[in-house]
């Protein structure tokens, strides 16, 4: 099997389990884009799962497939005991109210012609048909929760806000239906570092206040590490490594995780710029490399890597890697609190 394997799955207790998810898109002339090729992971209630990888690794496609936007080519997505991929259309609509999304570009994901109060209230007006006081109250409550003054912002339109504020509006819109899960697709990539910190803090607060489960998709491991309880590293439609964020940073086992860590710009002039650099380009997902998909850019590559696909295996408690030649990881590491 394909950098897949399921040893890291935690069975019944998970709120969402994604198994053998495959997402393929036609690319014309019978070619097929293998965006996601058989990945599995699960999320416990109240957990934040970080999905990290470069552009084109299939992390956004995975997030959207969980919402059935569109339904995956193959595989299963179970949410709270319900198989999402087999739900009839009407039930799917109903289920989606409990799963919301936040996108990368906050400005283009808001309708520029509508007022903030209408944008945020749209979910309510579709589902509850009560445009009365309770709806207004709920809208004001979520706007207040995301740090916007309802009295000031309600009648304004998106162009009157900065990127960070628009992202707050998107978060309010996602919260208004009291969802269980929010899928955040690169929610801070388009924002300044200072605003990024505000939004990351806000997501943590909202998670606490509303008891949310989050899927956090990003390309920057430093950002993902800050918010996640468990991190899945993806590369070209496959899972490379699954671990707790602190264990992943302290003892990265997959060569690709190494590269991601070395790419983070350190705000410290005494810290030498790492000379580790990923070489080459991401291979085409139309014709992915045989065996391990990372082998074309891996510095540890051996013959075995092109013939046999690595399967996820547990190398330390709750630390899984899909690599034939992973870095040594001390087995005593318990995943949390060992990094200084």
């Amino acid at each position: 099997m394909a950098g897949t394997g399921k040893v890291h799955m935690r069975g019944e207790e998970a709120l969402i389990s994604v198994e053998d998810l495959v997402m393929e898109f036609p690319a014309g002339r019978r070619a097929v884009v293998h965006a996601v090729s058989g990945i599995s992971f699960d999320i416990l209630e109240g957990e934040t799962l970080g999905l990290v990888g470069e552009s084109g690794c299939g992390k956004s496609t995975t997030g959207r497939a969980m919402m059935q936007l569109p339904s995956p080519t193959a595989g299963s997505v179970r949410f709270d005991g319900v198989e999402m991929t087999e739900l009839p259309k009407e039930d799917l609509r109903r289920t989606r109210t409990r799963m919301q999304m936040i996108f990368q570009d906050p400005i283009s994901s808001l309708n520029p012609r509508r007022k903030v109060k209408d944008i945020v209230a749209e979910g309510l007006s579709i589902w509850h048909n009560d445009a009365g006081d309770t709806a207004v109250q709920k809208v004001n409550e979520v706007l207040d929760a995301v740090g916007l003054d309802p009295e000031v912002v309600s009648d304004r339109r998106p162009h009157q806000f900065s990127g960070g504020q628009c992202q707050r509006i998107c978060i309010a819109r996602a919260l208004v239906l009291d969802p269980k899960v929010i899928i955040c697709d690169e929610p801070v990539s388009a924002l300044d570092v200072s605003v990024q910190a505000q939004i990351l803090n806000l997501l943590e607060e909202m998670k606490e206040r509303y008891g949310l489960t989050l899927v956090f998709i990003a390309h920057d491991l430093a950002v993902v590490k800050n918010v996640s309880d468990r991190v899945v590293v993806m590369y070209l439609g496959k899972v490379c490594e699954v671990a707790g964020p602190d264990a992943l940073y302290a003892h990265p086992a997959h060569p690709y995780t190494d590269v991601l860590l070395a790419s983070i710009p350190e705000p410290d002039p005494d810290h030498p710029v790492s000379d580790r650099q990923i070489t080459g380009e991401l291979p085409s997902p139309i014709n992915p490399p045989s065996g391990c998909r990372f082998r074309t850019r891996c510095e540890k590559v051996q013959d075995l890597c092109s013939t046999e696909e690595p399967v996820l295996k547990e190398i330390a408690p709750d630390h899984y890697v899909a690599c034939h030649f992973p870095n040594e990881v001390p087995v005593s590491v318990n995943g949390n609190g060992d990094s200084s």
Partner: protein, 356 residues
């Protein structure tokens, strides 16, 4: 180095825009200089005026821009603002070149990459088509594009984001400029590609001996790349120093706040970030006092009424503009006083400082 005149001298540069809402003071009195072959990093949030600053240096502003008297930009001893349009045409590209944030929008989508690179070579250097193509091929190799001969015949949409940014760098370097201005060159890219592009810029700079202005909102990006750093806030430089001094003796509260808002990979997960509350001021208004005061944890009465100027800190080449610099006893007193009342002199609530 002392005897030679710097490559670029910017003196009290002010750039205003005439907008329907009033005069917007995007850059309001910025001075700095840059030696040949040196890199300066300019750091600040969106709206701090850093992009307008470099556009003023290049003299590529929109028609509603006003540059009041007293603003001076000298490049290689010449005042760039007195260049006629025809002089300027051969000035851009051969003397100064610029790369932008989004490589997709700065490349022409309907022209092949090769044509876009050779355009400036043929225009500025009068090279023949053949010569220009050969030079373009050299440039493609220099910026690390695989299969350069094939790529020359492709369109921008056929390249990845990182490759496109490499192409814009190749275009910028085509006529060996003395100064390269990189305006957020990696903000639209993945971290892995960001590192590749920054490494590429550093090695090209060393190889070609050009000076560089690197603009970013992330202190992490400039830490290992620039020799000197200028931190901008609301149209002003608030702190300038060489990189090591800046990181070791951060004086201005804004620099400190920018630094603290970066999520650090060596911190445990779920570490709460010290976000800067609030937003930069509206630059159309007449601003009184320190421009950062409304967001500053240390703000005192003086900060609300008086505007601090840049002054020397005593560290070599280190200037900053704060009455209560971070790390000083006055700063500690100011913070203690503010914490005791729970509110700063500028009205920032320290008890709920996280949410704006």
């Amino acid at each position: 180095m002392e005897s030679e005149r710097p490559l670029l001298e910017v003196e009290n540069l002010r750039t205003y825009f005439d907008t329907p809402r009033g005069i917007l003071k995007a850059v309001d009195g910025v001075s700095f200089s840059l030696d040949k072959g040196e890199t300066i990093g300019i750091v600040g949030e969106s709206g701090s005026g850093k992009s307008v600053l470099v556009r003023s240096i290049m003299n590529i502003l929109t028609s509603n821009a006003i540059i009041p008297d007293g603003s001076e930009v000298f490049f290689d001893g010449k005042d760039t603002r007195n260049l006629s349009r025809s002089e300027a045409k051969h000035f851009w590209g051969t003397q100064m070149a610029m790369i932008f944030q989004d490589p997709m929008t700065s490349l022409n989508p309907v022209k092949k990459v090769g044509i876009q690179i050779t355009e400036s070579i043929r225009y500025h250097l009068g090279a023949s088509k053949q010569e220009a193509m050969e030079r373009a091929l050299e440039l493609m190799i220099q910026v690390g594009i695989p299969e350069p001969r094939k790529r020359l015949k492709e369109y921008p949409h056929q390249l990845s984001g990182g490759m496109r940014q490499r192409v814009t760098i190749a275009i910028a370097l085509a006529c060996n400029p003395k100064l390269l201005i990189a305006d957020e060159p990696t903000t639209a890219l993945d971290v892995t590609v960001q590192k590749q592009i920054l490494d590429l810029l550093a090695s090209l700079q060393e190889e070609l001996g050009m000076a560089m202005i690197l603009i970013t909102h992330d202190l992490g990006v400039v830490a290992g790349r620039a020799r000197r750093i200028g931190v901008m806030y609301a149209g002003k430089m608030v702190e300038t120093a060489d990189t090591t001094t800046l990181f070791h003796h951060m004086n201005h509260p804004y620099t400190e706040a920018l630094f603290k808002s970066i999520p650090r990979v060596e911190h445990q997960s779920h570490t709460r970030l010290d976000a800067i509350s609030g937003r930069p001021p509206d630059m159309v208004l007449d601003l009184v006092g320190c421009r950062f005061a409304p967001r500053c944890r240390y703000a005192q009465e003086q900060c609300v009424t008086d505007e601090p100027d840049l002054f020397d800190t005593g560290q070599p080449d280190h200037r900053q503009a704060c009455f209560y610099p971070v790390g000083s006893p006055e700063n500690a007193e100011a913070l203690a006083a503010n914490q005791a009342t729970g509110i700063t002199a500028a009205g920032l609530d320290l008890t709920a400082a996280a949410v704006s």
